[in-house]
């Protein structure tokens, strides 16, 4: 499989990311992202086979708080920024038949 980012690769990623891109936008973005991909490919030259991935600066040290219900945000406050709401609920397009 080639790694090159083309319009099809952009369309696939955009679908996964829920971004509606027109075909012309996919083409333009593919050209831009292929340049980024070619640039970051300098990482391929490094031998990292014996190096463990580092995903976080303080590995294994995450603190957890107690799993307790709090009243940080009321339903009315949560709904206050909703673009569409009714009767205490967020409104979405119909999702069942």
């Amino acid at each position: 499989m080639s790694d090159a980012i083309d319009a099809t690769a952009v369309a696939d990623a955009a679908r996964l990311a829920r971004l509606a891109l027109e075909p012309a936008e996919q083409q333009a973005m593919a050209a831009e992202l292929e340049r980024v991909r070619a640039w970051v490919s300098m990482l391929q030259a490094v031998d990292v086979s014996d190096v463990a991935p580092m995903t976080h600066p303080h590995e294994g040290a995450m603190g957890l708080r107690r799993d307790r219900v709090s009243s940080d945000l009321t339903a009315a406050e949560a709904l206050a920024n909703a673009p569409a709401q009714a009767e205490g609920h967020f409104l979405v397009p119909r999702v069942v038949g």
Binding site: V36, R37, A52, M54
Partner: protein, 490 residues
């Protein structure tokens, strides 16, 4: 007047907090038509906070270390009841329901919150040109970028919109604009400052950091915001240092490391600034150490892959349903098509690029070769810095390869813009604290800066060395370009 002088004068009753706040608001009124640094000004709220401080002072009540001091906040940080846009049309109209933890700490310390500063959209940029409200201009040269992504905060401090600001730094977003605008900026150790209530960009890298005109002022702000927070699982409980006292400590005996490979790509004036600073620290009794960071040149591509990947996950929350921009509903819409159109309309081009690139790098078939490899290179960069910091107490280098560049210089070449973060991203990858300190003006009258990097939770060393660097400089006067624009009414 510095932030600390302002706080002292208010505490002593020789300056009213309301007068200090009105002066800052008047400055915003006259200067921001030229800079475009503010996205929201809360004049009434600021005056009410200032009046409450004046009443407390008059009544002899105890007041906090920032009582009455007007400051600004990057619009990536929630201030309860105020708009929070993250520089994006996606969050146009959003009002934050709660204060971020750092804002609660500032309020408890008595700070007066003037309003919110502009930023690159979702903090994704090094120039403040991707802000939905348009570019911010550098007070030292109105045709120049202020740096980003906390460009509004840096410009606000340089222009005298109060005495300090909070920014955020994911790959240099406090330090680079601080350098370009001639102010001090600190990226704290990962976990030192709470991120609860801060819009997430790349969660293994993001930190909130203070910006102010002087190192001591920055120490005062940092002392207030540093510390553990139950609402942020990544926050840590290591002891807090006495950062203001650290500014008074001599540097004699400290080991200052110079990264020779970092001197190669600098403009002559930045090169000169780094070497002059190094010589000055040695003259003050520090000892020099030549250090190497063999993988430093890989920090920027590793950083961008990691940041874009984490961003693609973090920004999945903007769905146009619970909050944020929502596309007009068509009768044929499904939930998926509504998400996709809302996100395409709400996010700007650079944010969309990073989401798609991050999604691609995390997707099946590419994960190992891109995201996972970047995480392995991250460890190499981290290990290089740890080795270097066993041979020295602080690493001295540039913050940026040059002084601020013209607006639009890198608009059509994202990779060239990404590479401006060449000296800042390593500290984020390793989670280390780093500070940008101004070191005078260059040939074109634009600020120059150096960067200091220390070991984990050793911010005291940064304040100690930063204050020594600052002491050897003439303090920058107000930015002449902005003054001329105000005087000319341009």
């Amino acid at each position: 007047m510095t932030l600390i002088e302002c706080a002292s004068a208010i505490a002593a009753g020789s300056l009213s907090a309301l007068d200090a706040t009105n002066a800052a608001l008047a400055r915003i009124e006259s200067a921001d038509v030229h800079l475009n640094a503010m996205v929201h000004v809360d004049a009434a709220g600021a005056r009410a906070q200032a009046t409450a401080v004046d009443e407390a002072v008059a009544a002899g009540q105890p007041i906090g270390p920032l009582a009455g001091v007007p400051i600004t906040i990057k619009d990536l940080i929630a201030v309860g009841g105020q708009p929070l846009t993250a520089g994006s049309n996606m969050l146009a109209g959003y009002v934050a329901p709660r204060d971020a933890s750092v804002i609660a700490r500032l309020r408890a310390a008595g700070a007066v919150l003037l309003g919110k500063t502009s930023l690159d959209e979702f903090a994704m940029g090094s120039t403040n040109e991707t802000a939905a409200t348009g570019p911010v201009r550098n007070p030292w040269g109105l045709d120049r970028v202020p740096g980003g992504s906390s460009g509004g905060s840096a410009a606000a401090v340089a222009a005298g919109y109060g005495y300090g600001s909070l920014g955020t730094d994911t790959g240099g977003s406090v330090r680079l604009p601080a350098a370009f605008c001639g102010v001090v900026g600190l990226k704290p150790t990962y976990g030192r400052v709470s991120r609860s209530g801060v819009v997430a960009y790349a969660s293994s890298l993001d930190q909130v950091g203070p910006m102010a005109a002087t190192v001591r002022d920055t120490a005062r702000l940092f002392s207030v915001i540093a510390g553990p927070c139950a609402a942020d699982a990544t926050s840590r409980s290591e002891p807090i240092g006495d950062y203001e006292a650290a500014c008074e400590l001599p540097v004699a005996g400290l080991r200052v490391g110079l990264v020779h490979s970092w001197l190669a790509g600098l403009s002559p004036e930045v090169h000169r600034a780094v070497m002059t600073t190094y010589d000055a620290l040695l003259a003050a009794g520090a000892t020099g150490a030549a250090i190497e960071l063999p993988h430093a040149h890989l920090a920027v591509p590793a950083y961008y892959l990691i940041a874009m990947s984490e961003a693609s996950a973090n920004l999945a929350r903007y769905d146009g349903v619970r909050y944020g921009h929502r596309a007009e509903l068509h009768s044929s819409d499904t939930l998926d098509t509504l998400y996709a159109r809302s996100r395409a309309e709400g996010f700007g081009p650079e944010v969309q690029r990073r989401i798609v690139m991050g999604t691609w790098a995390l997707s099946s078939g590419y994960y190992d070769a891109y995201y996972d490899r970047a995480c392995r290179v991250r460890r190499l960069v981290h290990d290089d810095l740890q080795t270097a910091l066993s041979a020295c107490d602080v690493i001295l280098g540039p913050t940026a390869p040059s002084a601020a560049w013209p607006l639009g210089a890198h608009t059509h070449d994202p990779i060239a813009a990404y590479q401006m973060d060449i000296y800042t991203t390593a500290a984020n990858l390793a989670g280390l604290p780093a500070m940008s300190v101004p070191v005078g003006l260059g040939d074109e009258g634009l600020p120059l800066a150096v960067q200091l990097i220390a070991g984990s939770f050793k911010e005291t060393t940064l304040f100690q060395v930063g204050a020594a660097v600052e002491q050897r400089q003439e303090r920058l006067s107000g930015p002449a370009a902005l003054q001329a624009a105000i005087a000319g009414g341009q």
